[in-house]
Symmetry: C2
Subunit: 432 residues, 2 copies
């Protein structure tokens, strides 16, 4: 494919993407396929010779779409949202074209510098303590990780490295293995200090945990993967109080801040802590500026060596929405969750199982776990909406998470009408 | 931005991307900016209100491009290639639009199933032993990791988990910590068994290492991050001989197989080994098919929970190039490296420092390390081509890696003429 054909095919793809998202509501949100469906639809080996582009494109509807769970359908209420917006998609196209690998400042200065400044912008939007910002003279700063799991692992390794060094500074005889064998990581059953757990969007009390961690010299990492985006709204910011005690903090703009996956933003108070755990400096990655202290080499901040130019997505989204646009988006989703909560509360057959703080409603039919498992099976079997369950204190609970950028009141209302009808059918069947 | 505007802006972006790549040769390959250049070019905070799209787009040339190292310029010969092709970029647009998160089969069956089948396709292209393929009944199979570092870490953790279980099966009293404290990982100074090291593209002798690993019950992981793509050519496939002894193998199609970053493909012989190290099964991720043994839940194969629909890139590239097109691409790059090698060898002031096996030429001026450091400084200072050095047995060596998809003979020739002139200037200066 030459550049001329790419111009044509690229524009066709823009239209395909726009058509897909414009009509996604008409697609069945959860697919009908059985395991192994795809293998039989395509050849067993790659072709020897190039195929026609038209054949590839036709196979999207023939092979791929029948097996897609449509996360951006307004009837998708499962898991948590994964973000999507047009500005982020445009930025991703640019990111693919520049195609630089930003493992060091020199490998593409713009890639590193925009990331540092965007993490400062975002930190300010969240009103993070100044310690977490890079600025021009700060000791802290932010980095984009792929996922919250990676951010947590990085925090864990940085914490381990710091404490081993501290202990060895006092007692150089003690081996790393012996020290590590005695280290303890404290966590709840959702791991580390969490703001907005996945099952029920519950919040740890970090204003209580924080001072203990600080007094005991423990590394405190706070994960707000889903909830973090909401903290750009002043009314939700108190949920983040206590972050001043933390050593590291992360959340996922790729969940709820309109930045397409992957973009998990992480801040540390002392960048030396994180760099100390990961530093690697072969000659082929050295460059003139690295000893100056002026530049950031992000390969020292993460597990992978390579990294894409992901801050472009943040930049486009922040500028095309503005802080107010992003706040309005969060508030709309929270409003839809509250609306759904009211519908549930007005039906005395149901109960709400956890405070509805943000965009997640945990609910169930009053009655046995089996009854609720059956209800969920019927809901997902009907394929009109898609939900997943969680377990809360032994109870089987249904989760209604407002996910899609295009979910409106009518979708929440229709989802409730549908769920409520299925519940009626189910309860009628049980009475017989 | 609504859908109508996205159609317009998306098409403009396709043209911007095409223009950028069409004229990239005219851009200075390595930027002039100093550390901190970007912060002063943009505001200190995100805007409150949305900005005009035109302003964002204008800032690409004003803010971003002056700080970009152009990895896809045909005059970029640094590090190793990072892949880029039009079919991969089109697939990435589609990936962004579908925007599913493929942590389980149910989260988007097409995402999981295409990945498994594409890794089988690619495994067959490499003639991997059948043990590494999933097929419909295999015990092995492949997965896309983000980078080779992640693949290596996953292999290490899987190896550790397997041996701990084996030891505890014989001796249940021994604690995990005690066992781990006695474990040893063997590696060269480039780590694990490597086919195609970064400094010089050297190859470990895996036909010798493999039988020892197997006899001693050691996990053998082979990393062929850069070189792996070449093994689709029969003439380079012998370099992979011995892979039959390995437990896991990975390479990066995002380096040299025209698939944009990130796409690091990894295969294991026994998927149970890898799943055993990472399994996590909260209720909200459970689905009907997971106990059937028929489906793959890729979250058990990796550090992150979330994952994009990256196999679309492989599918588009394999079909739009065909195996022969991909082989021709590899051979073209190797041919260019050989051509550059001949130019170096014909100049008696220079020496070749390592066998030129694939697309990398390691060379230096006969003489001191200081002389070569000076030469490299002048080369990169002139900004017409970009190279990085490496250290080989104490010698400071220049690396000429054929990187861009659009590098042709004339670029290699022009690069050599330029380097050779700078060497002449330098040597004249030294004689004075």
């Amino acid at each position: 494919m030459d550049i001329t054909e790419f111009r044509k095919r690229g524009k066709e793809m823009v239209d395909y993407v726009a058509d897909y998202l414009e009509t996604i509501e008409q697609r069945q949100v959860y697919p009908d396929v059985e395991p192994g469906y795809l293998r039989s639809l395509i050849p067993e080996e790659a072709p020897d010779e190039p195929e026609a582009y038209e054949d590839v494109i036709q196979d999207i509807e023939r092979v791929i779409m029948p097996g897609v769970t449509h996360w951006h359908s307004p009837f998708f209420f499962a898991y948590f949202p994964t973000a999507s917006s047009f500005p982020a998609m445009l930025a991703d196209m640019l990111c693919g074209a520049i195609g630089c690998i930003g493992f060091s400042w020199a490998a593409s200065p713009a890639c590193t510098e925009l990331e540092t400044v965007m993490l400062d912008w975002l930190g300010k939007m969240l009103r993070l303590p100044k310690d977490f910002l890079a600025g021009t003279e700060g000791q802290g700063g932010g980095v984009i990780q792929g996922t919250a799991s990676e951010a947590t692992l990085v925090a864990l390794l940085a914490a381990r490295s710091r404490i081993v060094k501290q202990i060895q500074a006092h007692d150089p005889q003690r081996s790393e293995v012996e020290i590590i064998s005695k280290l303890v990581a404290y966590s709840s059953d959702q791991f580390c200090a969490t703001l907005g757990t996945t099952p029920s969007c519950a919040f740890d009390r970090i204003t209580e945990l924080g001072p203990i961690c600080n007094a005991e010299g423990m590394w405190m990492h706070i994960d707000a993967a889903y909830a973090g985006s909401a903290f750009i709204c002043p009314e939700f910011r108190p949920l983040l109080d206590g972050v001043e005690f933390a050593d590291s903090f992360n959340f996922n703009p790729h969940k709820w801040l309109l930045v397409n996956f992957d973009c998990s933003t992480m801040w540390v108070k002392r960048r030396a802590d994180i760099i100390g755990a990961f530093k690697m400096d072969p000659l082929y990655l050295k460059h003139d500026h690295q000893e100056s202290g002026l530049v950031t080499d992000y390969r020292h901040w993460q597990i992978p060596l390579g990294r894409r130019f992901r801050s472009l997505k943040l930049w486009f989204v922040f500028r095309m929405y503005g802080l107010r646009g992003l706040q309005a988006y969060i508030r709309k989703h929270v409003g839809l969750a509250k609306e759904f909560e009211r519908l549930v509360r007005n039906d005395e057959r149901f109960e709400i199982c956890a405070d509805v703080v943000l965009g997640l409603v945990c609910f169930r039919l009053k009655g046995s776990n089996e009854l609720n498992e059956l209800l969920l099976r019927r809901i997902n079997g009907a394929r009109r909406v898609h939900l997943v369950p969680c377990q809360l204190a032994g109870a089987f609970v249904l989760r209604f998470a407002v996910c899609s950028r295009t979910t409106e009141s009518r979708h929440a209302q229709e989802a409730w009408r549908h769920i409520s009808e299925l519940a009626s059918e189910l309860l009628r069947g049980q009475k017989r």
